[in-house]
Amino acid sequence: MYSNLWLIPFFPLVGAIFNGLFGKRIKNEAIIGGIATGLVFLSFLVAGQNFLKLLGDTEKVHELVMAQWITVGQLQINWEFLLDPLSAVMIMVVTGVGTLIHLYSIGYMHGEEGYYRFFSYLNLFAFAMLMLVLGGNALVMFIGWEGVGLCSYLLIGYYYEKKSASTAANKAFIVNRVGDFGFLCGLLTLFWAFASKGLWTLNFVQIAEHGYLLESGGLLITVVTLCFFLGATGKSAQIPLFTWLPDAMEGPTPVSALIHAATMVTAGVYMIGRMSGLFAMAPATMMTIAIVGGLTAFFAATIGLAQNDIKRVLAYSTVSQLGYMFLAMGVGAFSAGIFHLMTHAFFKACLFLGSGSVIHGMHHAYHHAHLHDDPQDMRNMGGLRKKMPITFITFLVSTIAISGIPFFSGFFSKDEILWWSFGSTRGHWMLWLLGAAAAGMTAFYMFRLVFMTFFGEQKTDSRAKDHIPESPFTITIPLMVLGFLALVGGYLGVPKILGGSNRFEEFLAPVFEHAQHLNGIHAHGALSTEYTLMAVSVAVAVVGIFVAWVMYIKNPELPGKFVARFEGMHRIIFNKWYIDELYDFVFVNPCKKIGTFLWRVVDARLVDGVVNGCAWVVKGIGTGLRYTQSGYLYNYAMAMVVGVVVIVGIYVFK
């Protein structure tokens, strides 16, 4: 019935292989980009067909076994796909947003050297991401999990001649390895725990069904879920492993939009959702997740307040929004987390692509005027709304959406998370406070970005300012589609108190309901409380926008005064709380020192000493023995005679 599921990851894989092998010879950008985009679009069509079929189906969980993979004793691991409402939502987001970003890249990457390489990697990423979300057992998911990490590395380091890009790629990869280690630990511990109860499986459906084998709230399940959560913090850039994501902005902007905003970084959220049955059984882990998510949302938002690089602001915003999703997961609002994942994919992809459009225009202008200013620095922008009307409007819509203004998509998802973090049985008012404060800051820094970029007078160098064009249609079409989705995407999940029926939550219910009921997770509270909280969060957002308006439109000299007044505070925030420096001090430099020690002492002295020592001994023996080669015939003849006499003597006298 759902037998064509395998086509969904298959198409992008074909594209990756095709462009990887033949792209260099084809050279024609239209063909390379067209094939890559077309194949992802085909995936989208297949995904859409399956999604619609699942909508009309009464049975919501479907497994498709393609082939056997590992068979050892009682353990049987297959190449299998799992389609349920959760993965259906994910494949729609990944292929839908993926198609748009592929289309966008055709225009954005125009004229780049290694055009084919970019599309090959991008398709490979789509393949890995689809394996991750469709994988029917934890090992197939792990393949995707590692695959997206690899593609992220390759694409961050796309401009590999640039030192900063290759360093950022390494950083992303290494930090992700730490997380992957956690994931593996969790996976193996879980396997061991189930196997010791006689259940040999890594299949998600079976894991969900047999969670009762483990003691609810026990040490074992807490350790397992904490390990998985460590994996999620690496992939999804949460405290303590968030530092790689802002640096990952070294990659081309479409990559930032697809991988580092819309899809890959949400893999951790998805993974927790996929194993919600286990996580719900470990209240300590859930609390950790909620606290980490809330703190990440808050701290990343504070850093976003003071950045001047347009992509960095968005990067910290992404970290902050991912924090929201984890907050949702931590308080048991699984479907709200996935809902925010989806709306975030729309508006954040739109924001990144919009910023890419701006950078594209700025770059064009600077190139035209032969200047080498930074095209990403917002202090060089301003007044762009007249130059780039489409970019401006879509960007503004997405900004309003992320700020949580009513009737835009972000409002519905964010508000549901905030309500759960307050009213859930696993929630707490302090978590709500963190989330609400982060919401206010989000509204502020996002509008700061909009005001600095699109409003006010243009601060671009006068030689370049008249040469900023609106971007070509391959760039503006994805912007318009995503802007539209950012506007209306939230209506899939209008909460009941606003007269909706929360169809999104109902759709996901078969996945999460069981875990929530079994562990007594639900949100409770009076309707009036819910209305009040909603009003407060909207008010906070409006205040944030108003402050941004006052500081960056009405009194443009105010930020300078403010910075001068709170110089120390500003410096700390501007330098990202010195977290990178702290990590350098605590982890990176000791590691480097250990590495240097191993190199200088262990390798150069010990290992080389042993190897060279062997050589020296052999050489010494040779030096001594070479004098036996006198070159005189009678010496050799004598040696022969003595040898013969000795050998014969041994035989005769033995």
């Binding site: 004098y627 080669q629 070159g631 015939l633 009678y634 003849a637 004598m638 005679v641």
Partner: protein, 100 residues
């Protein structure tokens, strides 16, 4: 009465003389002749023992040894001519370049 022991003794004496010559003489032709003496002492042993045990195998072996000795004489003398062309000498002390 000459027994097989006499033959063996003679053969041993000849072999020892040959060995001594190979080890002590410098002239390549003399060394070469000493090797021939050693070979022929072995031949003598073969024949004596062949006769003693009444088996023809030893005599067949002697033919082989003589064939090899003839071949060796041809190669050896050719080598010596080549040596002499290079060094105007067939003294083995002059041929000591293959060392260290």
């Amino acid at each position: 009465m000459i027994t097989v022991n006499h033959y063996l003794l003679l053969s041993a004496i000849l072999f020892a003389i040959g060995t001594f010559g190979v080890l002590t003489r410098k002239n390549a032709i003399v060394i070469f002749m000493c090797i021939e003496v050693m070979l022929n002492s072995v031949n003598l042993t073969f024949i004596a023992l062949s006769r003693h045990v009444g088996n023809m195998d030893g005599q067949i072996f002697v033919f082989f040894v003589m064939t090899v000795a003839a071949a060796e004489a041809a190669v050896g003398l050719a080598l010596m001519i080549a040596f002499f062309r290079n060094k105007e000498s067939i003294d083995t002390d002059d041929f000591n370049m293959l060392k260290w």
